[in-house]
Amino acid sequence: MGIGWRPEISGFVAGLPGLRFAEVVAESVHAHGDLPDGLPALLDRGVAVVPHGVRLSLGGAEPVDPARVTHLAAVASRLSAPLASEHIAFVRAAGVEAGHLLPIPRSREAIDAVVANVARTTAELPVPLALEPIASLFDWPDDELTEADFLTEILDRTGALLLLDVANVYANARNRGEDPLDLLDKLPLDRVAYVHVAGGAEHQGLYHDTHTDAVPQAVLGLVTELCARHRPPALMLERDGDYPPADELTAELDAIAAAAGYPAITA
């Protein structure tokens, strides 16, 4: 059971007695020079810290920038991380930054692009790579495969692990009008390296995976369903902003742990 480490709550994270692992945004860690304040203390404690890339754009048609791959590899070594993770998404095209993770079409062409980029990345990474499928408000018009088939094929061809974000599963299912359990049933759950749990909110009939809201009960329910099928090695709360009072964060962590059947890390 872990949490996404952020400088804004570094004091809170440092105070979690049962913390065993944390995830840090890879781009916020320098390959050389000082680590962000508070991170060295975590590493000294023996907490496993996993770098989570957000800007590599592995789903982009353009080849991934070698400098970014090198950076991710360097950070992974620096943190002595057991693995690294990134997303099945793209963030830039034709030199324009989108500023966010965007979905790729579930087509053969896109699969080829992702697989090629992942290959370029894993060639340099000293540790295994886990891929996270993202939540998206919209789909591409020429999707050929279902999400389950799409993800399975990518994982098979790349040999990468799966970073399952339960909130994303919920968001996508809800926005498409599908059953999230369907997807859970079809995914290769034995490839799950760890799990994200995050909050979101509804705007204008669409569920937004904001990471700045509380985790809804439905998502916690999905966590339980997931663990009933195959308990993942680790789960973590992912929160990016609008941090609530410490009590609420604690309660949320405990709720996730309870839903997953893991011991609480807050006491």
């Binding site: 793209f90 965007l102 079409p105 937004h208």
Partner: protein
């Protein structure tokens, strides 16, 4: 990355009139432009949903810029997200520091920069030289800058605010 056409489907939306195969790269670029540059939503996408995504993106961007430019955001209060989004809707992001900087300069040129944001902009102008086209670079020479009634002097990296918001007090920061 293009792959050979399979059954005429690659890059072709079924039903799209007269479509020549367009690569994934092109179509990704089109989507990004629709989301960040105000271009029309590409054919076949659900326009409502893409627009919801576009708005959410702007909201997220506004939040990030507010973190880098707290006084600028505070000057707008509740209207921050709306005001920034309106300006940023057709301008793809250059990173939150530059976004905020460009926005602040835009406001200053129209005389609409909030008073409490003046010192913040003036200080950054004095510390770094930013031409708008590349990342800001630290200045080596002393500089004096002003914005919205605040005047800032920078010498060897140290800042002195001469006038802030109409106050005549001298302060050393």
């Amino acid at each position: 990355m293009t792959s050979p056409i399979e059954g005429g489907r690659e890059g072709d939306h079924p039903g799209q009139p007269g479509g020549a195969p367009r690569s994934l790269a092109t179509r990704q670029a089109e989507l990004v432009e629709a989301l960040t540059g105000g271009k029309p939503v590409p054919y076949g996408f659900d326009a409502f949903k893409v627009d919801a995504a576009r708005v959410a993106l702007l909201r997220k961007r506004a939040g990030e810029v507010a973190r880098q430019w707290p006084m600028l955001a505070a000057g707008f209060g509740d209207r921050w997200t709306a005001s920034f989004s309106a300006w940023a809707a057709t301008r793809p992001t250059q990173g939150s520091l530059r976004d905020g900087w460009d926005f602040a300069r835009h406001l200053r040129s129209k005389g609409e920069l909030p008073a409490i944001a003046g010192a913040e902009l003036a200080e950054r102008e004095a510390r770094w030289s930013y031409a708008g086209s590349a990342a800001p670079r630290a200045r080596r020479v002393p500089a004096v800058r002003s914005a919205a009634g605040a005047v800032v002097v920078q010498v060897a990296g140290r800042i002195r605010v001469i006038r802030r918001r109409g106050w005549a007090a001298l302060r050393r920061s």
